[in-house]
């Protein structure tokens, strides 16, 4: 039985359609991340699951119960907000027990639940303080405590890490992951940060302009993105897109357009050419980490490795790797080099292209071929 089922969900504010035809099925114990750029509708979708927004059309089920129109308190959910929404005039203890109090849970049970959660999140020493006396990370933990104490069927997170600085964000991300591994609660997590999505999710739902673009495991979303939007959104630095054409003659390959005279052929698996069709115009998608320095002696001989010569324009060392912008034809292409093998600006470098990892997209529909 799925923990959460969404069928053909639509939402409009007035005449503006914000969500279009969303279908989603979340299994019990899954950690699903809704990811997408601002305005894609992910927060609205979360609000509708929580019952804070009404449904325009479609169905939402929690467990096997249809919850359209059911008020939030009856849906057996808990939510952590981006701003944490801790009640400012109450102590941490009161914040966590407020919900139980409102629902009439007896005092003893409240105290037990509080102790359990406080121990789990290590916030025992903070119980007497007010939210204004806590640091960002502490507030986040209290917010999670408030959600955990309900022991609900569904956990909802609305961009909980966005308000933290970069370092704290990474720390808290790991804490959330550890907590999930321990408790295994069904979770719906909204973020605009694709790194959070990749690291936390058991499955990722990528959204764009109100539609679900792809719903799959992180590995799949990364390696076989359903369309160019997903391909460009996931992964940083983002995927390179080059217009090309499947070779008409010769061994299975794709020929890059705008090659300025010299033809750039890159090998492809035969079956890809067969299903795509010879001579077809495509967009070749290749991630920067699959474009490295070609070194005859040292580069592993992978199947389907192509080479390209390209002049280097910008070099950006990040420490762990060196991001390089090269020019192929008229386009700027991003490649990743090992710091030791980094090229110099102006140098014409030979790139090794791992075509096994390449993706082909239809130029019109932008879908994966």
């Amino acid at each position: 039985m799925a923990s959460l089922t969404i069928r053909n969900l639509n939402k409009s504010f007035g005449s503006v359609a914000v969500l279009k035809g969303i279908d989603l099925e979340v299994k019990t114990g899954e950690f699903v991340v809704l990811v997408g750029p601002s305005g894609c509708g992910k927060s609205t979708l979360l609000a509708m699951i929580a019952g804070l927004e009404s449904v325009s059309s479609g169905e939402i089920r929690i467990g096997d119960r249809v919850v359209n129109g059911v008020p939030p308190k009856d849906r057996d959910i808990a939510m952590v907000f981006q701003s944490y929404a801790l009640y400012p005039t109450m102590t941490v203890r009161a914040n966590i027990t407020f919900g139980m109090e409102s629902r009439g849970v007896p005092k003893q049970a409240r105290a037990e639940a509080l102790a359990r959660v406080a121990g789990l999140l290590q916030i025992e020493s903070l119980l007497g303080r007010k939210p204004s006396q806590l640091s960002g990370g502490q507030r986040q933990r209290v917010a999670m405590g408030r959600a955990l104490v309900r022991d609900p069927a569904l956990f909802l997170f609305d961009e909980p890490l966005s308000n933290l600085d970069a370092k704290l964000r990474v720390e808290m991300r790991t804490e959330i992951k550890k907590l999930y591994q321990r408790l295994n609660k069904t979770t719906i997590y909204v973020t605009h940060d694709q790194v959070e999505a990749m690291t936390l999710a058991s499955r990722i739902a990528v959204m764009h302009q109100g539609r679900l673009q792809q719903f799959a495991e992180p590995r799949t979303v990364y390696d076989r993105p359903a369309n160019m939007f997903v391909a460009g959104f996931m992964g940083s630095p983002s995927m390179n897109f080059l217009p090309a054409q499947i070779a008409v003659s010769g061994p299975a390959a794709v020929v890059l357009a705008e090659s300025e005279g010299q033809a750039m052929r890159l090998p492809l698996p035969d079956k890809v050419v067969a299903s795509a069709g010879e001579g077809r115009r495509v967009v070749l998608g290749i991630r920067p980490e699959n474009l490295t320095r070609y070194d005859r002696g040292r580069t592993e001989e992978k199947p389907y490795l192509g080479t390209i010569q390209a002049p280097v324009e910008v070099v950006e060392p990040t420490g762990a790797e060196t991001i390089t912008i090269v020019r192929i034809g008229s386009r700027e292409v991003i490649a990743c080099f090992e710091p030791d093998a980094a090229p110099a600006v102006g140098e014409t470098v030979t790139l090794a292209v791992d075509m096994a990892k390449a993706c082909l997209f239809d130029p019109e529909t932008e879908m994966l071929i």
């Binding site: 929580a50 019952g51 804070l52 008020p71 939030p72 308190k73 959910i77 808990a78 939510m79 907000f81 981006q82 701003s83 929404a85 009640y87 400012p88 005039t89 109450m90 407020f98 919900g99 409102s102 629902r103 204004s132 006396q133 408030r146 309900r150």
Partner: protein, 310 residues
């Protein structure tokens, strides 16, 4: 950002012009400062002096001690005046705050035509107390106003003569005062309610709290400082109340609704008791400072606490 010109001027005529420019801010501020200083300190000082003297119709500058204050407090009429003040202030503050808060909560419920409602509740503020008092006097007078209307509608035993009733007249002042000020209080509360993070309400709804509970435990405590500001403003205006009473009841019937500020006016201009009037004015100032000084201290303390935490 401080002002300072380093003048290394070579010739003699330069320094004067530059000196003038250098103190331009002080020059500009000067006259106003002087006027304010005189207005606040010299005037108060003068009034305090007079209150300690024997002045009647004309000022007499010899100090005679505190006997004007003793005289004042032993006066029946003064006692009526400040009893009225207490009664009026408490009802006025409570009533205006309650209605203002209630209206603000209603308007905060995402209703349409909000501007219309706000205009309706707020316009009394643009109206002079004199106009308000006059209009309500017409409405409340037994022979021609509400009582008369109800009689005409058939209910002839209805009595609503508060305006001319010694015991009840002060309550007409309360009703009218609330009419005038509740819109303002509503505006303040509305601004406060709007500043509450909507996520707090969402979280509370998920937690299972009903709307009344949410208001009681979360929203209203969050706008606590606004209650304080409202209290201070209303108390201030209650202590100073004059125009409204003059227009509504003239202080009557008899002296049933007299208030301290009317008594001051009376003492100075009708009875030629300048010194006693000054003493009464000092009592008004004293009452005001009882409200304002704690408020300023509290507000200062709060500011410092917020700055320390930021």
């Amino acid at each position: 950002m401080t002002f300072g010109f380093v003048s290394g001027a070579p010739n003699q005529s330069r320094p004067l012009r530059e000196r003038l420019t250098a103190i331009m801010p002080q020059l500009v501020l000067g006259p106003s400062l002087l006027a304010s200083f005189i207005y606040v300190f010299v005037f108060s000082g003068w009034t305090i002096w007079i209150s300690l003297s024997n002045s009647t119709i004309l000022p007499d500058y010899s100090i005679a001690g505190f006997h004007q204050y003793v005289e004042l407090w032993s006066n029946e009429r003064w006692r009526i005046a400040y009893t009225n003040l207490f009664l009026f202030s408490s009802l006025y503050v409570v009533g205006t705050t309650a209605i203002g808060l209630f209206l603000a909560i209603l308007i905060d419920q995402r209703i349409r035509a909000e501007a219309l409602w706000r205009t309706i509740y707020l316009y009394p503020l643009a109206v002079s107390f004199i106009v308000t008092g006059t209009v309500w006097r017409w409405l409340l007078s037994p022979s021609t106003g509400i009582e008369s209307l109800v009689h005409q509608l058939g209910w002839t035993s209805f009595k609503f003569d508060w305006l001319v009733n010694r015991e009840m007249a002060i309550y007409t002042v309360v009703i009218t005062g609330i009419w005038q000020a509740s819109g303002f209080v509503m505006a303040l509360f509305l601004a406060g309610l709007r500043s509450v993070d909507p996520d707090l309400i969402k979280a509370a709804q998920i937690d299972g709290a009903s709307m009344p509970r949410i208001y009681r435990r979360i929203i209203l405590p969050a706008i606590g400082p606004i209650f304080v500001a409202v209290l201070v403003v209303l108390l201030q205006s209650a202590i100073k109340i004059f125009d409204l009473v003059i227009a509504l009841t003239g202080g009557g019937p008899g002296i049933a609704t007299t208030v301290p500020s009317i008594y001051v006016y009376d003492l100075i201009f009708q009875r030629g008791q300048m010194a006693e009037g000054a003493a009464a004015a000092m009592m008004i100032l004293f009452a005001l400072s009882l409200v304002l000084v704690p408020y300023m201290i509290w507000s200062n303390w709060r500011q410092r606490r917020e700055a320390g935490r930021a």
